[in-house]
Every structure is written in C-alpha cells, then in structure tokens.
Assembly symmetry: C2
C-alpha cells in the first residue's frame, strides 16, 4: 500500500519564508489568512488526504468506474463517503467568495491543498478540481442569476462541474467543433452533439452535474469564431435552485484507459439539452481562456503531486530495501546488505526528483500568489505585472511540471526494480496516472507553442523582460556570496542561454515560423529550468536566513545541498536546449510527409 | 487496432550495404546464409509477425494470463495456435546448431527476427526468447547428456525455458539467494525455495518447461561465491527424452503488473524438485554471465522493437488525423484542417524516434554480427576484438535502447493526444510493455555500473580504446566530405566529450568510487549517443553510395536528413552528460539517509 505524508512544512516554508505572503495582508482574503489559520487549514487538509484519500487510491484504480446500461455511473467503493467528507470540510470552496458560500481565502491556499489531494488520490481529486474550474468560469462570466442559481451548490459540493470541449473529430483544434445550439424563444438554447473524454462527466457523488459546453449557435461562423460557451445542467434547476426534470444529457459510455481509473471519462451525448449562454455569443473561446490559466496551473500541480508521492514511496523503499553493498565500502556490516540509498545512482534519482519537487512547488505557489495579486491588488501596475506573470508562467508550469512529473514517477518506479512493475506497491499506478496531465488541458506541445507563439511577444515582450530582469537581479545581488554562488552562478549561465534562445527566435522565427515550432518544446523546458533554478536561489537564500537563526534546523540544512545538486546536475541541460533551438527546423521538416 | 509492418528493407540495407555481412561467408553458418536465403527468412518472419502475432497483441493484453487454483496457467486466446505456427516455422532455432535441430544460421538473423517478434507482440515473444536464453546456457555449459536430452525439444519449441534468479529478498543482489540444493547419491540435487518474477514460468503452450535455477548447494559459501546453476524440468525427462512424472515445481501465483499481460510472470515454488548442475559447482554466476550478453542484447532489442511499432502507429496517425493548420501557412485548403504531420513539434517527435530506431537497429545488428565473429572466426585476434566489442556494447545497448525506447513510446503516445491515453489505439499498451525492459535482466543502473565499473578498465581498456579509435578513424576519413561533414563533425565533438568523461573517471573515480557511481548513468547514455551517432555516419555513407547508383531511391534519400537531424538535435546532449559527470558525487551524496 503506498504511503503519503503531505508536505505541510515545505508549504509553510515557501509561504512564510520564501514568498512572505503576509506582506499582502492588506488584500481581500489575506487578512483572514493569518499564519495560524493557514497552518491549521493545511494540517487539516493533510490529515484528510493522508487518512481518507490515500487508502482509496489503489483500490479505486483496481475497481475503476462502472457504467450501467441505463447510463448511470458508479464510482469505486469508498469514493462516495470520502466525497461526503470533502464537502463537509469545505475543501472545494476555499477561495470561492463568501457570498457564494466559500471561505474567500487566497487562491494560493487552494493550490497548496490541491497538491495534497492529487498526491493522495488524483482520480478522486479531479471531481472537485473540475468543479472549481466550472465555478471559476461562472464567477467571471456567468450572469448574476446563474451565479445565484449554480454557485452555492457547486461550492458546497452538492453539485459538481465539468468542461465539455473535445469531440471525436477535434481535440486541440476546437474550430472543428460541431455540437450545435438552437436558440429558443425564452433566450435559452437546445444543444445537440457528442462530446468525448469528459472527465467526471457522470458519477454517483452528487445529485447534479453542471456541464460547461462549447458549441456553435446555429448560423454562427465556422471555426473558432463561431463558438459559444453554455451552461447545461444534467438535472434542470429552478430559479430557487431546486432540482427539476432530467435534461437531455446522457453518458453514452466510459473509456477504458491507461490510468485515473477512479475518474469516469465519459462520452456525453447532448440531445436537445437545455442550456444557457455563458459570456458573449461567439466569444466562447475567449470565455474559456479566462479560466484557462487556473485550469492549466491545476494540471501542472497534478504533475508535481504525483512526482511528490512517488518520491516519498521511493525514498522510503530506498531506506528499507537491503540490496548490494556501497561502492565506497560496506556501510552496515551487521546486515546482509546495505540499503539501496547508499548507491549513488539511487541517490541521483532521488535527488533529481526531490530537487524538482521542491522547486516546482515553489513555482506553483509563487504563481498562484500572483493570481491573488492580479485579482485583488489595488495597484493597477502590480495587478498588471502579476497578470503578466500568470500568462507567461502558466504554459511553463503546465508543460514542464507534467513532463518532468511523469519522468519522475518513472524514475521512482525504477528504484523499486521489479517490485515497481507489479501493482502491489502502487508505483506503476503513479506512472499511469501521471501520464494524462501531459495530454489534457492542452497537450504539452500546445503549451510550448502558447509560450513561444503568444506569450513571448505579447505587449512587446513585457512579461518576459520583467522575468529576465528579476532573475538577473537575483544573480547579481548574490554573486559575491559564497553560500549563494553555487546556485546563482550556474543560474546566470542558464539565464543567458534562455536570453540567447529568445533572441534567436526574434531573429529567425518571423521569417520562418517553423523555426518557432521546431524549438518550442526545447524553449519551454529551458524556460522551466531557469524558473526552477530561480526558485532554488530564493529557497537557498531563505534557508540560509533560517539557518543563521538555528543552525540545527534539519529541514533547512538539506536546502543548500539540493540547490547545489540542481545547479550542478540539472541546469547543464539548458546548453543542450539552446543548441537544439539554434539548429532550427531544416532537418526536421525536410522529409516529405509520405516518408514517415 | 495497432498496425505493424516489419522493417525488412532496413534490415537488408544494414546487413548488405552498411555491414556487408557477406564478407564473412567463410564462417560456419554464413555460407548457408546467402543474400537470398536471408531475405526469404526475413520476409517470412515479417509475414508471421504482421499477420499472426500483431492481431493478438491487444487482445492478449486485455485478456491476460489466468492461473487456476491447481496452479495451471492459461495464456490468452490465440496464443496457443500462434505458438504452434512459431514452432512449425522453426523460429526458435534459427541459430541453434543443426546437430540439435536448429538451422545453424548466424546469430544476427535471430536478432533481426526477434525485433519483429517483439514489435508484433512482446508478451508472446518472451516465451521463445526465454527458451533461446536457456538453450544458449545449455549449449555452453550443459553436459553432452543434458544437451541431447533437452536441446532438440527446446529448439523445436516442444519445451520452453526460463531463468530463475530473483527471490523475494533479492533482485539485483544475487548473493542473497536462499534457494538450496541438497546433493543426492546419484549426483542429482533436490531443490527447495521460492523464486519470483519468473517470466514464462508456467503456461499452456508447451508440454514441458525447462527451468534454469540459481541455488545454493548445502554447505556452500555465503554470497555469490556459493551459487550454482541447475537445470530443473517441470516434468521429469528420461534419458531418451520421454516425459515422466511431475517434478516438484509449481506456480504459486501470477503477478498483476503494469504490462506484458500476455506473459505469465510467476512465483515458482521448488519443493524437493530434482535438478542437475549446469557448469561447475559454486560457479553459477559465471555460468550465467556467459549467456548474459545475449540475454541483455535481446532485452535491448525489446526497447527498440516497441519504439519501432509505436513509431509506425504514430506516423500513420500523424498523416491521417486532421487537426490545426500549419504554422507556415495552410497546407490543405480543401480539408477542414491540415494533418498533424505539418506541425514541427509533431515532426520533432517522429524524427527523434525514427533517428533513434534506425541507428539502434544498426547498433544491434552490428553487435550481433560481432557475436557471430566471436563464436566462429578462425582468427584469434578477430575473435578477441569481437568479444571485446560484445562485452563493451552489451550494457550500452541494454541500457540506452530500453531507456530511450520507453521514452519513444511515450512520445509516440503523445502524438495521439487523448486518443493515446485510452486503450483503443493500443498506444498506452506499448508504453506499459516498454517499461519492463528498463528493469529486468539487470536494471539499467546496473548496466551503467557494469560499463563504468567493469568494462571500461577491463584488459587495460582494450575494448574502449578500440572503439574510440574506430569512431575517430571514421570522423577523420570523412571530415572533408561535404555530404558527411554534417554528421561526422558533431560526432567528433561528442566523441571528444566521451573521451574526456573516460579520462575524468580515470582521474577521479579510483580515489572516490562514488564519482563512478554518480556519473555512470550519464556515461552510459553519452556512450550510447556516440555509438548511435557512429551508426548514422556509417548509414549515411552507405546511403550516399546507393544514391550515387540510383538518385531516386526514396528510402535512401531519407537517410541524410535523419543523420543530420540526429547530429543537430540529439548529439548536443553529450555536452550535458559530460557536465553532469564532471560535477561528481559530492552534492548527490551529501545528505544523510534519513533526510530522504
């Protein structure tokens, strides 16, 4: 049975020491989030995840979801009871305004807890995560009437939410969507069409499901400019929030898939289903995009979350399992063999994962904090800068944290040897579950294109310039400090690689856009390494400050070693990414399509 | 349903044009392997794999193996019939001496066909592959009597073979083996103990299973120096080869695992089972090692095989699936969208996999040819050089081809987007199946240690010096040829990185062995990149020669683009590997074990 302990101390270190979130105590929500309150929430969330959700992870994978012939879907044993506890704990609405029944606390707290949830049981955590996504869309674009009708029940977890985009003929290319919406006299619409890959599309956890659906109003233009977003409840909802008749929404089948077996991935058939516009007609894609940053950040967190729980299990196994003798000489003469952790190659894998996890968590919380600032700051420049950051860092977090998160689950599995390949220890489930975040919510190739094709040049490169300047300032500030130099010196080198790559695109991608496409994936990862390296610089500085107060703080003594490992063993990759980017598209695009 | 077409033309190009295998026609076996015979064998093997085994791959995964309460194991539907055809075709004994019923053909042919088998159906292919491994052990170490008793039936596929090493408390560390062997008056032994993770350990395909078992003769020294190898048939075998009573060998359970569901991974209980020594007493590990090169080469081939079949399906999907428009401008105005193959990031993935597959296949066949030379050459120097090559390249092929093969299946799956995550297209099965070759037959961390700790310094570095000299000579020979420079110039740079890394170990690993352990994985991959780059140099040269004869040879025109892609987009990784190696073990080993 896999184990999990939520990294509460690490989150507190990041929020309090590294990012000093309490300097924003003047912002709405933050004043209620005192250090004590935050710690209490995190500890209670940790307990729920460790004690309730973790034990259901493997059984949920083995049992999976079941669809009856009438279209009803049953979740794995224990999910319903756990979902009841999730509702009671108010975990869905941590950051939903109090007006709709939430706690109105900072978004950064939600993200911290969402990591715990996904580590403990990703398939389960997707039910509330999709609800949060739908809430976010309705908060920004729903009519006041819809907000009153839907949000309190969704915040309370009485109803869940979904996102209906994909159709058989279109995944990435939403312009191909065919689901159509017929305007009714009362201003509502009747939707007809088939959506696929709908996570949490049907289940037995809640009495209603609020579907957000991209569709095309009859007569709308072709392509993405003819898409509108609709809210389509599974059960009709009266103005007072009471449940009415069944709407024309049914689950046609559930997918057999590689992982996340506890989450029902549905074909959803809309058959003259009543729906209402969310946001402006034919502006559905823009409406979607305003919630995309949050959703993509959330998927990035899934990559981190699985990497974290896989690490914890691999580290425990490496300390327990006796196998072989240390290359530097026997360590435990009285035992039949030394534990795996004595072997440098096992350390290499553990350090790689751990150095990534701690920096990835920092990047997530830093960015979530920016979202809070972008929402609530009274200073328009600060709001803009925070919004710039969100836009820039979202594809990086989604792409890099899920790519590397998956790779890390594979590495953690490797430490178990053959025992990692069988189901018993749960390691192979982490790998299977971690595979999907690289694909959904915009496949990682799309994230890379979003970064290179849209975010870099946006507003004259304002966002990227600000990020470069911030990292550069950190490198400069600490360059003569012997305790910081091991991380900031390599970071400066990697930042230079990133800047060179940025300039190379500026010089070579306008005339030949294939050069941007060819280098986008490498650029995204190069960007991610610099961002993670910057997080290590900040964490190293904060740890040094804490060690100055208490030299025996065991948790802090590990930070400089991890920072140095990241600088020495991970950052060298930036040179390779730069070289590949500069190689351009020529050899990549030379062969005719039929040669493949 | 996934598709597969065996790469017969590519194998012929490698055997005939790149490695000119017919220059060895004076060696035993080669004289019978005329170009026509080789081609006929490959085409018939391709047909069997494409028509018989490929259709059983997905159903075999879904159905899996079933163990009845009496310990009998049933393979998935269709496997038994397909196995019958495998036997009839004589596919197990291609390279087994004619004296034992084989065809006595070169080992390189067996490896070429084994790739086809594993691409088509890896779980199925493991049954004959394990038989081939057991045959190889008995050919070298079996007594003449055992050879007569066991080999003809195994070669014919009437009986299959297994390898019993792992026990619950020991995987990598075979010194911990507890299974014991009690000497009997007639010279035989009674074996008692429990083995786990035994592939093909029990099944319904053959009437007998010949287990090779590592165990400890009572009174033998502790550790690896007290291990002996035994042959333990499931059913007793009379001197005339007739089947007798059931031996004390039973399947206790079969594992639930991530993939290769069609192959039964068994717990095998030995309970006073009659067995006979293979090789010298207490020399079991050495006996095993003589067949280890072949077995590890075979596992490397599995990585390549899954990468190949995943590539073929991804390439077909990329040509079929319409999604998005080319960044360089619309390519198919009359279609609702362009096919995926127009997107540079999709090309990047396809080219990465393809450039690896073609070079990986070359590396395998080159090395298999060396095995033929090592076995059969009349020139002792040539034999020694070939044997050096096998020893050096085996861990590289096993480690690099399985690590990268797995990564390639993940990349191919990514091209399918959400459709790659569901079972329907079979892509997620390739990923699950491709995961195990990284683990079994010596986890890849062990391969890296074998390379760095044993193979580099062996015989004063004779093998590695010869390899470096050969690559260097190729770089030098072609350095002024404009058609070769794009590959040999970067190859020369990467070779320099490899040489620097080798010297760094020489200078830094003796005093501090952790430095060798810390850099071993990077060194193995650096070595692999140079070896694969060298293959591209050879293939490019051979393609240029063929194009000089026929400029329109479409298959040949793709080679220079692939070679250049490999040089520009893959070889830059060698700089990163070198930098990591030189960073050494310090930051990796600094933290105390309890900090993990």
């Amino acid at each position: 049975m896999p184990r999990y302990k939520a990294p509460v101390e690490d989150v507190l270190f990041l929020l309090n020491d590294v990012f000093n979130m309490h300097r924003y105590d003047n912002l709405p929500g933050f004043s209620d989030a005192s250090a004590d309150v935050v710690e209490a929430i995190l500890r209670e969330g940790a307990r729920f995840c460790e004690e309730v959700l973790t034990p259901l992870n493997r059984s949920g994978d083995q049992e999976g979801c079941r669809r009856d012939s009438d279209g009803r879907v049953t979740t794995p044993g224990g999910f319903k009871d756990a979902y009841g506890q999730l509702k009671e704990g108010g975990w869905i609405g941590i950051s939903v305004p109090e007006a709709f029944g939430g706690q109105g606390l900072p978004f950064v707290i939600t993200q911290a807890v969402n990591e715990f949830l996904a580590s403990a049981n990703m398939a389960f955590a997707m039910y509330p995560a999709l609800t949060q996504g739908a809430i976010a869309a309705l908060l920004v674009h729903g009519t006041p009437e819809h907000q009153v009708r839907f949000l309190p029940k969704m915040t309370a977890g009485e109803w869940t939410g979904t996102m209906n985009l994909t159709e058989p003929q279109c995944g990435t290319d939403l312009g191909l969507i065919r689901t159509r919406a017929l305007r009714q006299d009362d201003g509502s619409f009747k939707l007809t069409g088939t959506k696929i890959f709908i996570s949490a599309g049907e289940h037995d956890l809640a009495e209603n499901i609020i579907h957000l659906v991209l569709a095309r109003v009859e007569g709308a233009p072709a392509g993405i400019k003819g898409l509108s977003l609709f809210v389509v409840p599974k059960m009709s909802v009266g103005a007072d929030g009471s449940l009415g008749a069944r709407n024309g929404v049914t689950c046609g089948s559930i997918e057999h898939k590689m992982g996340i077996h506890g989450n029902a991935t549905c074909v959803i058939n809309f058959d003259d289903a009543s729906g209402w516009l969310v946001g402006a007609e034919n502006r559905g894609l823009n409406t979607m995009f305003t919630m995309m940053n949050e959703a993509r950040l959330g998927v990035g967190v899934q990559g981190l979350a699985l990497s974290e729980v896989a690490y914890q299990n691999a580290a425990a196994y490496a300390n327990d399992r006796l196998q072989g003798r240390a290359i530097s000489g026997v360590k435990f003469k009285d035992k039949p063999a030394d534990p795996l952790i004595v072997h440098p190659d096992v350390r290499r894998m553990l350090m790689t994962i751990r150095a990534f996890n701690e920096a990835g968590r920092a990047l997530v919380l830093w960015t979530a904090l920016k979202e809070d600032i972008a929402r609530h700051s009274g200073d328009s420049k600060e709001r803009q800068a925070a919004d710039d950051h969100m836009g820039l860092m979202t594809p990086v977090i989604k792409g890099v944290l899920t790519d590397q998160g998956f790779a890390n689950t594979v590495m953690a599995q490797q430490i178990f040897g053959g025992h990692g390949y069988i189901s018993e220890h749960g390691m192979e489930q982490f790998v299977r579950d971690a595979r999907i975040p690289m694909i959904y919510e915009g496949a990682n190739g799309i994230q890379a294109l979003d970064l290179v094709g849209r975010k870099l040049a946006k507003d004259g490169g304002r966002a990227v310039s600000a990020f470069f300047a911030e990292v550069q300032a950190c490198v400069k500030q600490h360059s003569s400090d012997p305790a910081m130099r091991p991380i900031v010196e390599p970071l400066g080198g990697s930042l230079a690689h990133l800047q060179q790559a940025t300039m190379w695109f500026a010089a070579n991608a306008l005339a030949k856009p294939d050069n941007a496409g060819a280098g986008a994936n490498d650029y995204m990862h190069l960007f991610g390494l610099v961002a993670l390296g910057y997080m290590w610089a900040l964490m190293n500085a904060a740890a040094i400050a804490r060690l100055a107060a208490d030299a025996n703080d065991a948790r802090m003594t590990s930070k400089p070693a991890l920072a140095r490992f990241f600088a020495e063993h991970i950052l060298p990759q930036t040179a390779t990414h730069l070289a590949r980017i500069k190689a351009g598209a020529a050899s990549m695009m030379e062969l005719p399509a039929e040669a493949f």
